[in-house]
Amino acid sequence: MDALILQLLNGMDKGAAYALIALGLTLIFGTLGVVNFAHGALFMIGAFCAVTMQRILSLSSTVIDETQKDFLGNPLKIEVPYVQSWFGDVAGAAIQDWSVPLSILLVIPVMLFVGWAMERGLIKHFYKRPHADQILVTFGLAIVIGEIIKAFYGANPIQTPSPAALTGSVDLGVGLGFEANTIIYSVWRIVYFFFAAFIIAAVFAFLQFTTFGMVVRAGMADRETVGMLGIDIDKRFTVMFGIAACVAGLAGMMYAPILSPHYNLGMDFLVLSFVVVVVGGMGSLPGAVLAGFVLGIVQSLSSMNEVKAIIPGIDQIIIYLVAIIILLTRPRGLMGRKGVMEE
Amino acid sequence: MGILEVKGVNKRFGGLQALGDVNLSVAENTVHAIIGPNGAGKSTLLNVLVGKLIPDSGSVMFDGQSVLGRKPHEINQMGISRVFQTPEIFADLSVFENVMIPCFAKRDGAFRMHAIESTHHEKDMAEQAMAMLDDVNMADKRDMIASSMSRGDKRRLEMAMCLVQDPRLLLLDEPTAGMARADTENTIELLKDIRKKRGITMAIIEHDMNVVFSLAERITVLAQGTPLVEDVPEKIKGHPKVREAYLGEAQV
């Protein structure tokens, strides 16, 4: 029982990441009608924003400390991060420690810009092209982004620690009435889950309660009709693309401590996110979120030793299996609407 | 006993009775029009006839066999061809190929793995297709890509694609909807011509009275999902019930 709950919890943060990427994919698909294979790359850019922030914050000036000597007897050179010399030792160290959450300052402008540039520079020209072309051009873009990241950051995963206060784990089992040390759960994963829930809630609230969101929802339901109303839907869609990019970027940024970013991260998550979108039902936002969590949890449950003892390695293929079964029994996905991508 | 017999067909969509106890008999070798005001259930009826919708009750028999539950391609293989409101053609293929495909479908059935034979060696098929194109005055357009033609020509091509299969029943779904006056006249002429030359049984679903009265030999008036009257055109024209149905619509 306790093991089951632990796996359920483990599935939550992975599911949250899937849900966030799938949410952005669905927004883009629903509003712009574009299948974006570069969305995983946006997730990755977010993660690398966190890496960049960490590096920026540890930029240092070299100070020669005459009071100390190194082993050769020369004055010791000490690297003093600028943030520490500007804000004082304690505050500076704290800022550095909190680099991942602080990267939000970097992620939002970067992602808005990337989203805007992608939509205006590339995607815009593909609204009227076949889906196959959209897939192909964004696939090419995903390769290019991955390779650019590789050129700047190398091919190895880069450790990006979470703040010390949020590192480590808590014993959730005690609170739930289990014995101590049965359900140990990483603090950062809990943070991630609540962060994701907050973002998802924010996106839904935005779509539900703002005029902008209303127009976008109308556009998702019937693009042509809204076009006839004379609303400049395209401009709003550009903004929507930026928002979707932000959601993916934020998801990636916060995921950096859980999975060290590397240049293939985008591709790894993309394939699974697409499966999530399709399982949820192309064009359905609640479906994307639901499917994200369901698949995350299913994957986590199937990685239990008890399950793996029966079918080894099932955790690696379970998502695909579930996807295939769902698509065959419910061709439109869990919450897909009729008429979306039927042709 | 007609070639197409519709008996006691009912279809509900939620609370809406789209078709209520429809009985209809299309006699062989006639042009039978089904008319009615908007929302009378014409399209629903057509979709039942081609297997796209399954009625809640009732039967649809074509030449003694039920069409219910069959897929569109099976119904076509039984001998029913359909012309759509907006022409459905193979837009990326040449006019000639558009007509060749139904020839093959007629000869080889729903599927045949003829992957090695050359299309150009199928002389019989080619002759049939060319004769058909001649018939509809499109022989000179045989190598055009179908999508590059005018709407009227597309309609003509679609007609040719149906006729080349020599169907026993041709279903036409508002064949002149959205057409310019001249195109409508042309289509009427084309249909009259086909009727005269080939004597094909047709069932037309139509809104345009002009088209109906210049073609139909028998008319069924549908209102609120139920057949109101069925008679020859001359009688329908002055029929009080029909006037009521249409005038009722006009007042709204």
Partner: protein, 403 residues
């Protein structure tokens, strides 16, 4: 000739001739020259890739080019074919015939099952279903899940599958070769012809692969010109009209899918026959993506486009990844130093290990500017050089008299 019309037959002959003389045509520079080092492509390992990937993309084009169904998981069939072939080497002997036959059969079986399921959906759903299947198969192969399930080795996981000394090889007799061979004709043995500074290598393995590619090319022409091919194009054009014309689209689609899966299996078998080891990375989805790139670059739905696309990509991959900074410095030596260094710095990210960056950019450029691929580019250039040729072509292409 051979059941082809004159225009197709000419094309077929050209492809045959190119295949036969490739070892000479692809080695235009003397071996020792710097141009030769960078640009010669006439060595067996690379030429094998040209024809094998050409074959693979020809098959892919039958599915994507004719029906418009974009499969994003074709590399899976390639991998399955390779594994089947290596298993034949392990169990029977190094003779390539059973290996190649089994690779086609196994890939065919897999594509029947996957196609049957994936083809229940169309458009983007189909692409993602094939992608999901391929990723699943990759995971299974990469961790050898089947092997683990039965406590044995099937794909041998990360290590990859190869032939070991203690394998049964029940058909191996004393003197038979210990490398893949065709009834004694060893795949990797070659005849080298030296003329002046030039060196031309004629290798058995290359020619065997080339024969298969030519056969595959011939079959694809026949399919393109057959009623079956016409039906597939009709499916791409309008499925509604297809079914209201009395045609069942499903078996046509499945047949196309299986045919292209078998092409991929054959290509996989040939890869294994050239080099008898294989690993799961061959099935990774970026490999599937590369197949799509080749098809698009060459020209989807054209006859020679796929071969062209496969050749260009494999050639570029080869030379681009070979070029390094010192070669660049040599090239730009005539420039003033500052310009030379600038050029090298600018080009540096795209060469060597940057091949994938170049590939991605090339990919985007083709989709954006040349959706018809190199074949379309060729046509455009042809029209530039005179209208007459174009109208000639159009005439002979469209109004083909029944021979």
């Amino acid at each position: 000739m051979l059941g082809l019309n004159s225009r197709d037959f000419r094309l077929f002959l050209i492809v045959c001739a190119l295949c036969v003389f490739a070892p000479i045509l692809l080695n235009p520079f003397p071996v020792a020259s710097s141009l030769g080092e960078s640009f010669n492509a006439g060595y067996p390992a690379l030429m094998q890739r040209f024809v094998i990937f050409g074959l693979l993309v020809i098959g892919f084009n039958i599915l994507f080019g004719l029906t418009g169904y974009l499969s994003f998981g074709h590399a899976a069939f390639l991998g399955v074919g390779s594994f089947a072939a290596v298993w034949m080497f392990k169990l029977l002997s190094y003779n390539v015939v059973p290996a190649i036959i089994l690779s086609v059969v196994v890939a065919g079986l897999f594509s029947v099952v996957i196609g049957y399921i994936a083809l229940r959906r169309s458009g983007i759903y189909f692409s993602i279903l094939t992608l999901a299947f391929a990723q699943m198969m990759y995971s299974i192969a990469f961790s050898d899940l089947v092997g683990k399930l039965f406590g044995t080795i099937v794909t041998n996981g990360e290590t990859g599958l190869q032939v070991y000394n203690d394998d049964p090889q029940i058909l191996m007799s004393e003197g038979s070769p210990t490398v893949p061979h065709l009834f004694g004709l060893e795949m990797n043995s070659a005849f080298t012809w030296k003329v002046g500074g030039w060196e031309f290598v004629f290798q058995n393995g290359y020619y065997l692969s080339a024969i298969f590619m030519i056969l595959g090319f011939y079959l694809s022409i026949r399919i393109f010109r057959s009623p079956f091919g016409m039906m597939l194009r009709a499916i791409k054009s309008n499925q509604t009209r297809m079914s209201y014309t009395g045609l069942d689209t499903k078996p046509y689609m499945l047949a196309a899918f299986v045919i292209s899966g078998m092409y991929a299996g054959l290509a996989g078998g040939l890869l294994a026959a050239m080099d008898p080891l294989t690993g799961a990375e061959r099935m990774f989805w970026t490999a599937s993506g590369e197949i799509v790139v080749m098809a698009i670059l060459g020209g989807v739905g054209t006859l020679v486009g796929p071969v062209l696309g496969a050749g260009v990509i494999k050639y570029l991959e080869n030379i681009v990844s070979k070029i390094n900074d010192s070669i660049l410095h040599n090239w730009f030596a005539f420039m003033p130093d500052w310009l030379e260094n600038l050029m090298v710095t600018v080009i540096h990210p795209f060469i060597g290990k940057g091949w994938h960056l170049t590939l991605g950019l090339l990919f985007m450029a083709v989709v954006i500017f040349l959706p018809g691929g190199l074949m379309q580019l060729g046509e455009k250039i042809a029209t530039l050089f005179g209208r007459k040729k174009k109208s000639d072509d159009a005439k002979s292409g469209a109004t083909e008299p029944a021979e």
